[in-house]
C-alpha cells in the first residue's frame, strides 16, 4: 500500500534574536492510509510545530528550512499558499492546540459549520444545516446549542466544536493537536470511537498529538516519540508499549501513573530538555540518560532501523534489537 504521508529529514526553525530555535530538526516518519500515528513527547519538543508544518501553517519567524513532505506521493513542502488552501480543510485538516484558532468569535457555531461545509460542497443550505446538527451530535454538543457563540461554551466544548469543524469535509488526514486535553474520560472515549469510525468508513489517517500516552495506546497503530526536536523512536504501537527501546521511551512509560496502584509516588525523568537554540553536540538525551556513555556525549546517534518499520536513535542499538 502506498503511503499517505512520508516526512523526510524535515527541519523547521524559528528565527529569534539570539539564534534559531531548532524546533523540528531532521524528522522522518511515514504513515499509510487509515492509520493513526501517536505523536508524543515532552512539552516543547516540537510536536505542534511538526503538525503545523504539514499544513504549512508555521507562523513567522518560523520557517521550513529543508526536507520533504510527501502527501499522497506529492512533495507539498514547496507548494504555494494558493495550492495549499485547496488542500487544507478538505484533504488535510487540523484541530489546533488552542481551540480558539479555528473558531470565529463572531459567528454562531452552526453558522460556522454550515459555511465551512458550503464553501467546499455545493449543497443546499438546509442540507448543510442538517449535516451540521449531525456533526454536533457526534461530538456530544446538543444541537440546540447551535445558535450560541464560541465564548458561551466550556473549554472542552470548544475543543469538540473544533473537531466537528475539522472533520466536516471528511479529510484524508486529520492532525489532532492535544484535542482531548480538556475532556473527561467518557467524552474522550466517545471522541476516540468517532475517530475509529472515520478510520473505518473512509480510511482517514490521524496524527494524534498528545501527552496522554494511555489514551494514545487506545488508538495508535504507530508511535513517533519526539525529544528535543527529533524523533528518537518510531515503532508499531504494540511493540513500543511492550518493548520500548530508547532510554527516553523507557523513562516515559515508567512515568505513566498507574491508577490501580495505591502507591503515591510518581516517577519522572530527572533533568530538563536542552535549549533548542544550542542543543548539545552528541545525543540530545545524553544529559538525562541513565545509560549514557562517552560516545553519546561526542557524537549524535543515527536513526537506525532495528526491524522493518521500527527505528531508534540510540547507540545502544546497532541495527539489532539486542543492546550492544
Amino acid at each position: 500500500m502506498k503511503n499517505l504521508l512520508t516526512i523526510q529529514d524535515l527541519r523547521v526553525y524559528y528565527y529569534l534574536r539570539e539564534g534559531a530555535v531548532r524546533a523540528v530538526d531532521g524528522v522522518s516518519f511515514f504513515m499509510k492510509r487509515g492509520e493513526t500515528v501517536g505523536l508524543v513527547g515532552e512539552s516543547g519538543s516540537g510536536k505542534s510545530t511538526l503538525g503545523l508544518s504539514i499544513l504549512k501553517l508555521v507562523s513567522s519567524p518560523g520557517k521550513i528550512v529543508s526536507g520533504k513532505i510527501l502527501f499522497n506521493g506529492n512533495d507539498i513542502a514547496g507548494w504555494n499558499e494558493k495550492k495549499m488552501r485547496l488542500l487544507r480543510g478538505s484533504r488535510i485538516s487540523m484541530v489546533f492546540q488552542d481551540p480558539m484558532t479555528s473558531l470565529n468569535p463572531l459567528m454562531r457555531i452552526e453558522e460556522h459549520l454550515v459555511e465551512t461545509i458550503r464553501t467546499h460542497q455545493k449543497i443546499p443550505k438546509a442540507e448543510a444545516k442538517k449535516k451540521a446538527s449531525l456533526l454536533l451530535n457526534e461530538v456530544g454538543i446538543p444541537p440546540e446549542r447551535g445558535g450560541d457563540y464560541p465564548h458561551q461554551f466550556s473549554g472542552g466544548m470548544r475543543q469538540r466544536i473544533g473537531i466537528a469543524l475539522a472533520i466536516a469535509l471528511n479529510p484524508d488526514l486529520l492532525i489532532a493537536d492535544e484535542f482531548t486535553s480538556s475532556l473527561d474520560v467518557i467524552v474522550q472515549f466517545q471522541i476516540l470511537n468517532l475517530m475509529k469510525k472515520l478510520k473505518a468508513s473512509h480510511q482517514m489517517g490521524l496524527i494524534f498529538i498528545s501527552h496522554d500516552i494511555s489514551l494514545v495506546s487506545e488508538i495508535a497503530d504507530r508511535i513517533a516519540l519526539m525529544y528535543a526536536g527529533q524523533i528518537v523512536e518510531f515503532a508499531p504501537a504494540d511493540i513500543f508499549f511492550s518493548e520500548p527501546l530508547h532510554p527516553y521511551s523507557e523513562g516515559l512509560l515508567n512515568s505513566v501513573p498507574n491508577i490501580e496502584l495505591s502507591d503515591q509516588k510518581l516517577n519522572y525523568i530527572p533533568g530538563m530538555p536542552p535549549d533548542l537554540v544550542r542543543p548539545p553536540d552528541g545525543c540530545r538525551f545524553y544529559p538525562r540518560c541513565p545509560y549514557g556513555e562517552d560516545i553519546c556525549r561526542r557524537k549524535e546517534p543515527p536513526l537506525v532501523q532495528i526491524e522493518k518499520e521500527h527505528m531508534v536513535k540510540c547507540f545502544r542499538y546497532d541495527g539489532k534489537k539486542s543492546r550492544t
Binding site: E42, P142, V187, Q188, E218
Partner: protein, 328 residues
Amino acid sequence: MERKVELKVVNLKKYFPVQKSFLERLLSGKIEYVQAVNRISFEVRRGEVFGLVGESGCGKTTTGRLITRLIEPTEGKIIFKGEDVTFIQGERLREFRKYVQIIFQNPYASLNPRMRIGEATAHPLEIHGIATGERKKKMVFEMLEKVGLEPAKKFYDLYPFELSGGQRQRVAIARAMILNPELVVADEPISMIDVSLRAKILELMLMLKEERNLTYVFITHDLAVAKYISDWIGIMYLGEIVEIGRKEQIFSTPYHPYTKALLSAIPVPDPKREKKDIKLKGEVPSSINPPSGCRFHPRCSFAKDKCSNLKPSLKMVDKDHYVACHLY
C-alpha cells in the same frame, strides 16, 4: 485536629441567558437559560485540596470563576475564611484578589500577547506592590525555574506566542503562585504537560501547599491526577454535585452510577489489554432543558420511575461521603 474552613460555597447557582435574535425571542416568547451551575454546596478546609471532576461542560470552570469573583452568581453565597465575599467591592475585593488566585484553563487566552513572560509573571507583584527592581526580578527567575522554564533568563524575554502549549501553562502556574496566595483555583493547570514533567509540577504544587498551608480547588479531567493531588473529591454532572467524599472513598467505593462510569473509563497504557465498553446510554443532555428529577436518569442503567420525577439530594452514605442518588 480539625482544620479551619477556608472556603465555603452555599447553594451556588449560575444561569446564563441564551442569546437569541429579536425574532426568535418574539416567536418563543420566553428567555431561556443555560443552567451552568445549579445550587451546589461544598466546603474546603485550610491546607487541603478539593478536586473537582466531571463531564466536559458540567460547570467546573463556571464554579471556579464564581469562587474567584470573576462572575456574579445568580443565587447563593461564597464564604472565604468566615467572611461572606459574594458581593464585596472596591478595596475589599482588591484585597481578596491578592489572596485568591485562579489558573485559567486556556493558557492561550490568559496571557497578554504583548507582555514578555518575565513581565507577565512579575505583573501581580507590581499591582499589589509586593516587590520591585532586582528583588522582583529574582523572585520571577526563581519561580520560572521552579516550573521548569529553564534557562529562566531566556524565557524571561520571550513572548507568549514563542512558547508551546505546555510552556504557557507553566507560565500561568508561575504567575498565580508568585503572590503567595492562600487559595488557588487551578483549572486544568497541567492538561498539556507530559507525564514526566507533570510529576514535577504536581510535587511543586504540593510542596508550596505544605510550606504555606495553601488551599486548592483543583479542576481536572485526569483521574490519576485527581487521585494524586486531592484530599477530597467532588464529582459534578450537568451543573450539580452528585458525589462528594474523601479521595480514598471515591476511588475505593464509588456510589453514584456516573462516578462508577467515569472510573471504569480511565485509559491504561497497554494496547493489548481488552478494550472496555463504556456503558452510558443516550446522548448528552442539554443544560438548557435538563432532564427532570435526577439529571443523570436518562443515561443511567439503574434508573427507576422515581428517578425521573424526584430530584435526589445529597445524602450521607458513610462518614464524610455523600451521594445524590435514589439507589442509596
